[in-house]
Amino acid sequence: MVKLLDKLWPRNMSGQIALLVGIALLVAQSINFGLLVRARDRQELIQVAAPAIARLADAIERDAAGAPMLRERGPWLLRRGVVVEGKSRVTPGMPRREDIAERARVALHDLRVPVLRVEAAQAAGSAVRLPGHDRIAQLRDTIDPERRNNRPYLIVAAEVSPGRWVNLITRLPSRDPRFLGWLFLQTMILYFVVLAAVLWSVRRVARPLRELTGAVEGFRSAESAALVPESGPSDVRRLVSAYNGMRTRIAGLLDEKDRMLGAIGHDLRTPLASLRVRAEGMEDEAERDRMAATIEEMNRTLDDILSLARLGRPSEPETRVDLSALLDQVVDDFQALGNTVSLADMPRTTVTIRPTLVTRALRNLIDNAVKYGGSAEVSVAQADKGVAVLIDDNGPGIPEDKIEAMFEPFARLEQSRSRETGGTGLGLALAKAIALQHGGRLTLANRPEGGLRATLWLPARGQA
């Protein structure tokens, strides 16, 4: 039940406001309806009871005076429906109208008409037999007994002396069946007008909010995020304009970051370049090569840091590239440095990538394989509507529970950050970030035959 309510409860603003306004209108209309019915009943009481009581009083007085009730000249209507009998026409089965009886008692008392008891009840036409019913009415009743039988009648009976009752039988006005219809129509008009106004104003607020939500959700980089047009009520406008301002400030911050990263890159590479040139002048050849390797290592780390920091705003456009040729080049670079890296034969494969970034990712993966596994075997497989580059090594692998942690920046398997094995632990984090940036993924798994397999999967977008 709660679940169903939960399901039906609208989630968005316009739905909730419409539902709440609808419920509020329903409650208000119900109260109105009750009040209206009560008012109508009071009106009816006054309209019907007053003349009935007057006629009853008149009849009692006439009875007291010994005047006959029927076949008497005079205002006929006044005497119509009066029966003087030894019993009350109110029978126990009839619904009592104590309100009318009470009114009658008070009125008769005020008129100083002495009565012993007064009863009042409502009865259907079928339960009432009328003396002196006019002919037209009788005729109508014979033609349409249904109508007579269903009509409500009011019976007011007064016991004037023990065993002598003056009964007054009069018609109650039949209720207008259209009353409910009118009330319903009125409610509908109210609903329509109020809900239309509410929905219109809610829409006015909801539309700019929706656009704003879309813009915030789609916020990837400051350039691609368009300014949201300011519309709607002033408070919503202020929100939109605050967002637009924030977007501009974020764009400024990102520009600032790019400038700063550029400056850091330049300011660190320049002294590295100077070191590298000076190293060339060293006499000891082995020492010189070690120094060159260290400088190269520092430069690679710097590149990784800058790439990772800039990944959100790549400057390089996506290009369709021959992956086999790209891999060939990366592998060749490793081979040229004397590393054991092999590339399996593969058919020509086209991928849509940012070549410099993917090259960097592959280089980091192969570098890891060479560093920790001694060698790397690179192969390519078509998989899962994409291309998977597999980099296998023959190293010790990684304990299963540590694999996820390897993707954290600056994570390395051994706790000591020894430079013997090299690397800052940025390589995998960057490779993974690059894979994700291309809509691909990077996974590590221990091979059953030993060693580690890194799988860089790229989606086959625009594959020729």
């Binding site: 550029g262 890159g265 330049h266 590479r269 320049t270 002294p271 590295l272 370049a273 100077s274 070191l275 590298r276 040139v277 000076r278 060339e280 002048g281 060159a292 400088i295 190269e296 430069n299 590149d303 800058l306 400057s315 390089e316 290009t319 369709r320 590239v321 021959d322 086999s324 040729a325 790209l326 060939d328 080049q329 060749d332 670079d333 086209t350 070549p355 410099t356 090259t359 020729a464």
Partner: protein, 239 residues
């Protein structure tokens, strides 16, 4: 060209300029080293400079602007030094008319090799020192874009080439249907003499074949000439 080629080294960074100038001098070059673009313009006007090694990022007039000036006023080859690794910077540099670029920090030996390649190419090519930056070569369904240093197939798929492979392919496409010996190719692409057991060119040829030949075991594009060397068996259209 004299025995000692005259290089102009432009870098605002003294800590690079001075040791690099010394190193280049030690390796057989005459070197004029200056710290800004204005002085560089004066030296260019005053000396017969064979090649300019130019830093991109300099206060005042930057390297790219100076590179454009050099390109407009003559045929002196330019090698750019850049501390930024963004791809766009390299392409812009090459489009500005630079002949090559080197990323800082660079190996001075690598720089000398590049200088020699360009000087050799300039020497062999006579008046045409280098392909204009807008030049492209179309051959056998491939387009080699000299400005961007990219090889693109008819579907627009680019094929990455190493500097050595690019230089080798450029040497072949700029001399179609000519037989080029291993020595010549080594001279043009790497600026050095071959030793008797040098397999560098053959290795690069086989790598190139894997990239451009429909079937690299039966090459039809880059053909081996018996006893001689290699030739590009295709019609080349300059675009």
């Amino acid at each position: 060209m004299s025995d000692r080629p005259h290089l102009l080294l432009v870098d605002d960074e003294r800590s690079i300029r001075e040791p690099l100038a010394a190193y280049l001098q030690k390796n057989g070059f005459r070197v004029t080293a200056v710290g800004d673009a204005a002085t560089a313009r004066l030296r260019l006007a005053g000396y017969a400079i064979d090649l300019v090694v130019l830093d991109i990022m300099m206060p005042g007039e930057d390297g790219l602007s100076l590179c454009r000036h050099i390109r407009e006023s003559g045929e002196i080859p330019v090698i750019l030094l850049t501390a930024r690794s963004e791809e766009t910077d390299r392409i812009v540099g090459l489009e500005m008319g630079a002949d090559d670029y080197v990323l800082k920090p660079f190996s001075p030996r690598e720089l000398i090799a590049r200088i020699k390649v360009i000087l050799r190419r300039a020497g062999n090519g006579g008046a045409r020192l280098r392909p204009p930056e807008s030049e492209s070569y179309a051959f056998a369904g491939w387009v080699l874009k000299a400005g961007e240093r990219t090889l693109v197939d008819s579907d627009g798929v680019s094929v990455p080439l190493s500097t050595g492979e690019y230089n080798l392919l450029l040497a072949l496409v700029s001399r179609p249907n000519q037989v080029l010996s291993r020595d010549q190719l080594l001279d043009i692409t790497q600026g050095r003499e071959a030793n008797p057991f040098d397999r560098a060119i053959d290795n690069q040829i086989s790598r190139l074949r894997r990239k451009v030949e429909p079937d690299h075991r039966n090459p039809t594009l880059i053909k081996t000439v018996w006893g001689g060397g290699y030739t590009l068996a295709a019609d080349v259209t300059r675009m």
